[in-house]
């Protein structure tokens, strides 16, 4: 392992590890599986480091690997349901008006109920913080497709919030 390669990999790790964790957490919803998935993702990246063709960004390439890792994990764990508690949810730290606990749960459930394509975009956008272009590179689709999937996903989420508000 050359020094340069190590430096590059560590830099990528520093830039992406928290976002990869968040992205994986959206898929599995528990800490243990998240750690496993993150580890698996970076191992795959390590193995395929030389296969990066420099057409997109390294981060987009890494998130494409993360996505495949997630897909493989879903295949293996079809029967498992992600269960996430709210015991460790922190209080808002900034001045933005935060949704209440019920709304967070509703939104989270709504995101889980989205179809695969839309939830991928939502996770990559909100958990991983990727731009449209990076999402497009990671998923291998056009930027316009990312835009429309995100929009449709948000509309679905809004509808579910409205339904819950009506029921309440």
């Amino acid at each position: 392992m050359t020094r340069r390669f190590r430096a590059e990999f560590e830099k990528l790790w520093g830039q992406t590890s928290s976002r990869i964790s968040a992205y994986m957490f959206c898929a599995c919803g528990n800490r243990t599986d998240t750690d496993d998935l993150v580890q698996e993702c970076y191992l795959r990246a390590l193995r395929g480091w030389e296969q990066f063709n420099c057409r997109g960004s390294r981060q987009a390439w890494l998130f494409a690997i993360a996505r495949r890792t997630r897909v493989d994990w879903h295949r293996k764990n079809r029967k498992r349901k992600a269960v996430v508690g709210l015991d460790n949810v922190d209080e808002p730290s900034d001045g933005l008006k935060k949704p209440n606990t019920d709304q967070i749960e509703t939104i989270w459930e709504a995101v889980k109920n989205l179809d695969e394509e839309q939830s991928e975009v939502i996770h990559l956008r909100f958990a991983a913080g990727l731009s449209y272009v990076e999402i497009a590179q990671a998923l291998g689709i056009a930027v316009g497709t990312v835009r429309s999937r995100l929009h449709r996903a948000l509309k679905t989420i809004r509808r579910q919030i409205e339904e819950q508000n009506n029921e309440a």
């Binding site: 590890s17 928290s18 964790s21 968040a22 994986m24 957490f25 959206c26 800490r31 998240t34 750690d35 993150v38 996430v84 460790n88 949810v89 922190d90 808002p92 933005l96 935060k98 949704p99 709304q103 967070i104 939104i107 989270w108 995101v111 939502i122 996770h123 956008r125 909100f126 958990a127 731009s131 449209y132 835009r147 429309s148 995100l150 929009h151 948000l154 509309k155 989420i157 809004r158 919030i161």
Partner: protein, 178 residues
Amino acid sequence: MKRERIERLATDVAAGELNEDAEALFNAYLAEHPQAKKWADQMLSIYKKTQTAISEKTSRANKTAETASICSKAIGWVKWPSVGRSAAILAFGILIGFTAAHWGTTGKTTEIAQMEPTPGPGPVKTVSDLKEKYAGTFWGDKMLVLLERRPAQQYKADFHDVSLWDKYRQYIKEKRYE
């Protein structure tokens, strides 16, 4: 513009994916159309709520990752081989200490018992004197050979009316201490 179009543009604005010129035009349009602004605000609101909800949910994963990272770094800083080696050396030292203390106590008693009957300085015997008395037996020859290797001062006062076997044991003990 249709509602669909306005909501798409509002999503892009919220995501920061609309360029400055387009955003300025969009804002100008919204300023003139209150209904369009209402639709855009709704979309902006849902965007922010979704963002916040996912951030809240995933913050736990990030915190765990940070903690794990800190812990692994802390563990990484400790040089476990050297700690293990130090512990082994310490344990070995303690074992040797106890053994020596125990053995020293019993040995001291024996030594005192052996040394007490040793009388004061008597006539100095040389190896040739001892040869006359002890030569010919196995232990006698062995003792004489060993005595001949010793410096002259050491054996002068040692052997005085003590059995040959005791002398030999005494010598071996001294040799061991050396």
